[in-house]
Structures are given as structure tokens and as C-alpha cells.
């Protein structure tokens, strides 16, 4: 069995699966159940400054995007940071950490953007003997209007400034949680690094309206006929999160900055993908909120078994494994030529490939008598749409043309690696030597 024990910026946990700062980590009761179920760590739901806690709405907090069988594909929320008193949270954090010393206990924080506020809360948090803090610069609703959350995360200078305060006033490892509601994720990550952050965690939720009620014309979730944007999460956001993680992992300025990956992780496979793109730990929320804490057993067993199959003995061997293969478009090999191939034995003759190619692509599939569908190599640009819409796995595959063969579409012989930077059509191309 592969060893799933994780040391992430000095924070140790028996596995890399943490529960993200969110409703599942708001109370001792929930966190105890999570640890008993086997979760490696938690990021305790965001604490605010001392004083009267925030209040939440008293109507629905969540909106949802369902698949046809009500599978939760995406979730959105308008919940704020913890609405329980600071001292209650601190007491519970301390107690749970004491009872589960091997688990990662990270505390999420969000206080007003002044040094004194941060200094004050850090002193209180350190007393809990937690393992680290996560700065919530990502929450996109409710708190941002008060100059916190993503209002900080969208201004790199603020990120750097607050991170610096935190590192000055605490010896705890510091994770900076990033908002995806920005143009270039590398900028806030660079700012966090300049400020001295030990790691970044991303993504937080994405500004969203899940749906509109077409009877009342209220956005969902609806509070007395009105709706506000919420933060979107769940399986639907995973591709966005993967890209942002990869962008930070391959950015020369931040490539050594540890990443805690977040965004739609539902199974071990999602987690492995985040790890491969540079994450050193992962955080889960929507999957737990949908299915309960029991999913951790599938996640740890699946990751461990896959690592065994691949010969990886530790999580750190997986981290970043795919990063060298993430590149910019201009460096992709233009002499990698493939053609779609349809396995006639597997084909069930639905014709979706034909409809997709004929109506929306390159007219590269012929429909022959008896509903036989065949690729026309002279037209196929290898776009992969037929593969994507085919309901049968492996029925349509992309087959590489060997070097030296002629692409019947272009009449050009398949040659060695060559990319756009040297392509004759590129006005910026420098002459190849």
C-alpha cells in the first residue's frame, strides 16, 4: 500500500484529503465525525474578528445544478463566514486538535484589512495549537462588500500586505486562499509569495447565479423573491480549478510555491489530477456535502491503489508530475497528425458523430447505407468532437499518422516536431536555422 502520509509546508496529515473551509468544518461535532471517518485534515470554517458574529440569511443558502437523475453537478452558496462566537470556535478547535493530534488542523481567517485586527486574531488562534492558518481572500459574496474576502484577493497589493502582517505576527504556516474571480491567477499567487506565504490554496468559489425561476423571475437561491450572486463549486468547476493550479505550478515566479488544490474534487481520480498538476494536498467540500463524510474511504483507497499500480510510494512523487507537460499553445507540435477511426464492431449506429461533424465541423464522416459511419481522412482535421460525442467508450479513437506518411487532407508529409513559432504563416516567426 502506498504511503498517503502528507507533509504539506510542515503540516502533517495521514492522507492528503482535507475538508475545505466551509459548512462541513464549522463545528466540533462535524469535524469530529470527519476525523472519525478518516479525513486527513480540515480547514476550519473561516473565523472573523472578535465581537458580534455575522448573521446569515434565514432562507435558502444553496443553489444547485442537477443532472437528469438529480446528480449534483454544481452547487452555489451565499453563506458567510462562521456565525458562531469566536471564543466558541477557538475552544472547539483546541479540543478537537488535542483529541486528534495526527490530523491537520488549519484555521481559516478573515478580519478587516488592518494590521491590528490580524495581529489580534492570530494571537488567539495560536493558542489553539492548530497547525496553520489559511487567509480567506476568496469568498465572493457578503464579506467582499465589506472590504474582505475576494475584495482583498482581487488586489495583489493587499494580498501581499496582509500576508506580510500574518507572517510577522505568527510563526504558523500560512496558506493564502485565492479567488478565481480575477483575470490572471498568477498575479495574486505572486503577491502571496512576495508577502511570505508558505502556500496558496485554490480555487475559492466562482461568482454565479445558478438559475432563474421563470415563474417569479427571481434568481436562485431566492430570498423573498430576490437573489444575490453566490459562489459556485462542485464538479462543474474542476476544469477551471485545474488550469489555475497548473498556471501557478508552471509560472517561473511561483513554481516552488506549494499548492493546496481545491475545486470539484469528487473522487480519488480528481485528487490525483490536482496532485499531478502541482498540488501537495487537496481540499474537498461539495462532494462531502452531497454524499457525507463516508466518501473518504473511496478516496484514500483509490488513490493508494492507483499509486501502487504506478509504483509511486509517496504523495510527493505524484505532485507536479504533469506540470512539465503543460505548455503554451505555440509550443504544441503541429506535425502531430491524427485521424479519427471508428471501430465498426463497437459502433451502435446512433450517428451522433455524423451529426456533429456534418453540422458543426468539417464534413469528415460519411454516412453509408446500413448506417455505416466512416471517417473521410481527406477532410478530418482531428478535432476530436466525434470522440467526445460518441456514447460508446473507445468506439472512436484518434490514430496518429506515422512520420513520413502523407496527410491526405493537406498533402503534406508528416515530419519532425515543429511548432507555431517557426511556422511560415506566423508573421512573428524567426527563420529556422
Amino acid at each position: 500500500m502506498a504511503d498517503l502520509r502528507t507533509d504539506f509546508v510542515g503540516i502533517r496529515s495521514p492522507n492528503p484529503f482535507w475538508l475545505a473551509s466551509a459548512p462541513p468544518t464549522d463545528k466540533e461535532y462535524n469535524v469530529r465525525r470527519a476525523f472519525e471517518a478518516g479525513w486527513g485534515g480540515v480547514v476550519w470554517k473561516t473565523l472573523g474578528a472578535e465581537g458580534p458574529p455575522v448573521v446569515n440569511v434565514n432562507g435558502p443558502r444553496y443553489g444547485v445544478i442537477h443532472g437528469p437523475d438529480r446528480r449534483v453537478l454544481g452547487l452555489n452558496n451565499i453563506e458567510l463566514i462562521t456565525d458562531r462566537p469566536l471564543e466558541v470556535n477557538l475552544r472547539e478547535i483546541k479540543q478537537v486538535k488535542r483529541d486528534f493530534p495526527d490530523r491537520a488542523m488549519v484555521v481559516s481567517l478573515m478580519v478587516p484589512c488592518d494590521e491590528e485586527s490580524w495581529k489580534a486574531i492570530l494571537a488567539r488562534v495560536e493558542e489553539t495549537e492548530c497547525d496553520g492558518v489559511e487567509l480567506n481572500f476568496g469568498c465572493p459574496h457578503g464579506m467582499s462588500e465589506r472590504g474582505m474576502g475576494s475584495a482583498v484577493g482581487q488586489v495583489p497589493e493587499y494580498i501581499e500586505m496582509v500576508t506580510r502582517w500574518v507572517k510577522q505576527h505568527s510563526r504558523l504556516p500560512c496558506l493564502v486562499k485565492l479567488t478565481p474571480n480575477i483575470t490572471d491567477i498568477r498575479k495574486p499567487a505572486e503577491a502571496a509569495k512576495r508577502g511570505g506565504a508558505d502556500a496558496v490554496s485554490l480555487i475559492n468559489t466562482i461568482n454565479s447565479i445558478t438559475s432563474v425561476n421563470l415563474d417569479t423571475f427571481s434568481p436562485e437561491p431566492s430570498i423573498d423573491g430576490k437573489g444575490a450572486h453566490g459562489g459556485y463549486c462542485g464538479p462543474a468547476v474542476k476544469p477551471i480549478a485545474l488550469n489555475m493550479v497548473a498556471e501557478i505550478a508552471r509560472n517561473p515566479e511561483t513554481r516552488d510555491l506549494p499548492i493546496s488544490g481545491i475545486g470539484g474534487i469528487t473522487t480519488w481520480r480528481d485528487a490525483a489530477e490536482f496532485l499531478a498538476l502541482g498540488a501537495g494536498s487537496v481540499q474537498v467540500c461539495t462532494a462531502a456535502m452531497t454524499y457525507g463524510f463516508g466518501i473518504i474511504r473511496e478516496m484514500t483507497a483509490g488513490l493508494s491503489a492507483w499509486m501502487d499500480e504506478k509504483g509511486f510510494t509517496s504523495v510527493s512523487q505524484v505532485t507536479g508530475r504533469a506540470v512539465p507537460n503543460v505548455t503554451d499553445w505555440q509550443y504544441l507540435n503541429l506535425n502531430y497528425v491524427t485521424k479519427a477511426r471508428i471501430d465498426q464492431d463497437l459502433c451502435i449506429k446512433c450517428g451522433r458523430c455524423y451529426a456533429a461533424c456534418e453540422d458543426t465541423s468539417h464534413q469528415a464522416i460519411a454516412m453509408k447505407p446500413g448506417r455505416v459511419f466512416e471517417v473521410i481522412d481527406a477532410e478530418c482535421v482531428a478535432c476530436n468532437l466525434c470522440v467526445d460525442v460518441c456514447p460508446v467508450e473507445n468506439c472512436i479513437t484518434m490514430v496518429e499518422l506515422p512520420k513520413g506518411t502523407v496527410d491526405p487532407r493537406t498533402g503534406i508529409t508528416v515530419g519532425d516536431y515543429a511548432n507555431w513559432t517557426t511556422h511560415p504563416n506566423n508573421p512573428m516567426a524567426r527563420a529556422a536555422e
Binding site: P68, G351, M367, R371
Partner: protein, 442 residues
């Protein structure tokens, strides 16, 4: 109180609760969530094979997509625009031989999209609107006579009314509906669905139904041709085939279609007498409907005996399995030699059959089945026809039709004898009549 064990033909073999449960909906309707899940399985195939497999060519992927999108009433409109008996067909079509048999998921995984049940979901939603969804075009001033108020005749009448013609439907029975009303197992169309569907269909207006009027007895084809601008014959198959074996006229032996008709027209199923040991002879849908309903009424043993092998049975595999699940035994490759009894039937002697170069041959060997009721379901055929009409292949020969007369449904050639085929032929005849009456479009 009688019981299934009571000898002879007797009523009240089962209590009312058991009877009610035996005759309830054979397949319950899909609820909204089930429909969403079932609809999601449709691949929206290009030039979909299911459409080609439907005699009425309903745009099945489209109506299923409309269900996916939460618009079942619009889905029903897609169905009805091709097949006004979409509700009945959803219940009685042998879908595994038609649309569902052609579904690519049947080929892929042996589990087709549940097109029939989805069609029922949509048409139920549409009929629940309690208003007729089609409007009539401007009146043409033309009058058309339709003979037979079965699926073919009513589909023809509806499409003619839609096109602005006025229609009179002549029906010899007391009620319209044809085999949907008289000839299909009760559990397939519970809740008086057949009459409800006819009432809904007639909601378009412009259709008058005259029941109790029989062609050849009360009115002649020549009279109709003289009085109307066009005539459509949807008279079905009025006679049944005979076994031609000794004892066929004994008490307790009757045509399965008569048994089914009586059953459909008797509100109190408990009052219907049924044998303790019932033997059904035949291999089609009528045989299955008669056998299953005999069991449902409380017959102790019911056996279908068919002269050829299972693969030759015209009842679908699904129907056969349904019968077997309901406790009906199906025997193959045996034909009746004699129906015996001391007065009423008490047993049937069968001979095994074997296929030879000259067709089926009876072997010496055989067996006897105890029977106090025998139901004959070996096929229906044309009854007496108006003078001048020819017969070809057991159906009215269209070439023999006089000018201004069209034909469709079970009495006409082309396709299986199914509600859906009759509906398609009635609809298409109506369009042909419309073209004939209004001339080529400008």
C-alpha cells in the same frame, strides 16, 4: 362462493379486490422524475432508426428531448401531429418489435430507451389539459363518409376534419373505438381509456359518429358514394378462422375475440364466467390477451397451444413473457385434433406437428389437455364485402376500389394488423382524400 378450483365455467372465482388488482394498469405510468431519467437515455440519433421503425413515423428523439426540457405537452403535440392515437399506441404497441427494437441502445446494451412509456407520459400530460389541441382549417364544404370507427377510421376522420372537411363515421357496434374498445386486453387500457381517447379526438369538431349502422345492412357503398364526396373504408376483419376439427361447436368453445369483447364490455369482471381449465389455441396477441385475462378472472390453469415454434409466434416475446409471468403455460408445435366432451367440452386432443416441405404436418403422437373452456385465436379474416370489391392476400385489393373510395386498417394490405399501422393508413388516406378533393396546391 366459487374458487379457481370450481369445475366447469363459473363466475366469481376471485374476490373483488383480487380482480381489481389483476386488471389494473399492466405497466404504471412514469412519474416526472422517472421520465426525466428515462428521457436522458435518448442519444438523439441522427436520422433515428426508431422513427423509421414507427409506422406513423413519430419524431421520437424530438418528443423525448421535449420531455427532457420539461415540456411534456409539447412532446405530446409532436406525437399527435403524426399519430392521433399516440395515447393508445403508447399502451398497446409491441414497441420491442417497433421503435424500441430499433433503438441503438437495444443493440448496444439490450436495454432500449423506454419510448412507449415516455410516449404515454407525454400523451397523458397532453390529455390532462382537457382540451383538444388541434384546430380545423377553413371549411372546404366537402363531406366524407368513413365506415368503421376503429383506429383507421377515426384517424382518417380526424385528419379530414383538421383539413376542413365534414365527416360522418358509420359504426356497426354500439360504441366507437374499434379494437381499442372491443379487442384489447382490459389491463392495457384501464379506466375506460379507449372511450376517453375517442371523446378527446372528437373534440376537434366536424365529425359525426352514427353507431349501430352496418355497411351492407343499413347502408350500401353505392349510397355512400352517391351522398358523399369521398368514402373511407376502415372495416377491419370481421370474421374469424375456424379450427375445422370435430367438436368445434361444443359448449364452452368460442372465439377469443368474443371472449375479450365481452370482458371489455362488462363493468363487473366478477360476473364473467371463466373455465377452471382454459385452453387457448393460437399464437398471436389475441391468444395472449385471452389467456392472461382468463387467468386474471381466476382460471386455475391456462394453456396456450401454438402449432409452430416459439420464434413463429406473432405475439411479441415481451407479450409471451408477460403471459408466462401471469401463470400462463405456452406449448409449441401442437395442433388440435379433436375437441371432446360429453356435451360441453371436457378435453382437447392435440397432435404434435412437424414442418415438412408441404407445410405443417400432424404427427401420430400427441397429448390431451383437460379443458372446460376453449378459446380459439387462430386469426381473423375479412367479412362480407360490398359487391365489386376484390380480395387479394386476404385483404381488400386496392385496385378493385371504385373511384372516390379509399381503404385502410386491418382490412387493407400493408403492414401488420396493429393500431399504429391502422392509424398511419387512416391518416395517409385522409391526406390523399384531401388532395383529391381540393386539387393540387397552387
Amino acid at each position: 362462493m366459487t374458487s379457481p378450483q370450481t369445475p366447469g365455467i363459473a363466475a366469481h372465482r376471485l374476490d373483488a379486490a383480487r380482480l381489481a388488482s389483476n386488471f389494473e394498469d399492466v405497466q404504471p405510468p412514469l412519474d416526472h422524475h422517472e421520465a426525466r431519467v428515462a428521457a436522458d437515455r435518448c442519444y438523439f440519433c441522427y436520422d433515428a432508426p426508431c422513427i423509421a421503425a414507427c409506422p406513423t413515423e413519430i419524431d421520437i428523439p424530438l418528443f423525448i428531448r421535449q420531455i427532457q426540457a420539461g415540456r411534456p405537452v409539447e412532446a405530446a403535440m409532436t406525437i399527435w401531429s403524426q399519430n392521433i392515437f399516440g395515447g393508445a399506441c403508447a399502451r398497446v404497441c409491441p414497441t420491442e418489435q417497433l421503435c424500441e427494437g430499433a433503438c441503438v441502445r437495444e443493440a448496444a446494451e439490450g436495454k432500449p430507451v423506454e419510448i412507449g412509456r415516455l410516449q404515454r407520459y407525454a400523451t397523458d400530460a397532453g390529455m390532462a389539459r382537457n382540451s383538444h389541441p388541434f384546430a380545423r382549417e377553413a371549411p372546404t364544404g366537402k363531406h366524407v363518409a368513413v365506415v368503421g370507427a376503429g383506429p383507421a377510421g377515426l384517424a382518417c376522420a380526424h385528419r379530414l376534419a383538421m383539413r376542413g372537411h365534414d365527416v360522418v363515421v358509420f359504426e356497426k357496434r354500439p360504441k366507437p373505438g374499434g379494437l381499442n374498445e372491443y379487442g384489447i386486453a382490459a389491463y392495457k387500457v384501464p379506466g375506460d381509456f379507449a372511450q376517453a381517447e375517442v371523446d378527446w379526438l372528437l373534440g376537434i369538431g366536424g365529425i359525426e359518429i352514427r353507431c349501430g349502422v352496418e355497411l351492407g345492412r343499413d347502408v350500401t357503398l353505392d349510397q355512400l358514394r352517391a351522398e358523399y364526396d369521398a368514402v373511407f373504408l376502415g372495416i377491419g376483419l370481421q370474421d374469424t378462422n375456424a379450427l375445422g376439427v370435430p367438436g368445434e361447436n361444443r359448449a364452452g368453445v368460442e372465439d377469443a375475440v368474443d371472449f375479450i369483447e365481452r370482458l371489455r364490455q362488462t363493468p363487473d369482471k366478477g360476473a364473467l364466467p371463466v373455465g377452471r381449465s382454459v385452453v387457448v389455441i393460437g399464437g398471436g396477441m389475441t391468444a395472449v390477451d385471452a389467456a392472461v385475462q382468463s387467468r386474471a378472472l381466476g382460471a386455475e390453469t391456462v394453456t396456450i397451444v401454438y402449432r409452430r415454434g416459439q420464434e413463429a409466434m406473432s405475439a411479441s416475446r415481451h407479450e409471451q413473457e408477460h403471459a408466462q409471468t401471469r401463470g400462463v403455460r405456452i406449448m409449441h408445435e401442437a395442433a388440435p385434433r379433436e375437441i371432446r366432451g360429453n356435451g360441453a367440452v371436457s378435453e382437447v386432443a392435440f397432435a404434435y406437428t412437424e414442418a415438412g416441405p408441404d407445410g405443417l404436418r400432424l404427427r401420430e403422437a400427441g397429448f390431451r389437455l383437460e379443458a372446460d373452456q376453449v378459446l380459439k385465436a387462430i386469426g381473423q379474416r375479412l367479412g362480407p364485402l360490398p359487391e365489386g370489391l376484390g380480395v387479394r392476400g386476404g385483404k381488400i385489393d386496392p385496385a378493385s376500389l371504385p373511384a372516390g373510395v379509399w381503404v385502410g386498417g386491418d382490412c387493407a394490405p400493408g403492414g401488420e394488423d396493429l393500431t399504429v399501422t391502422a392509424t398511419a393508413q387512416g391518416r395517409d388516406a385522409a391526406e390523399a382524400i384531401h388532395r383529391h378533393l381540393t386539387g393540387p396546391a397552387a
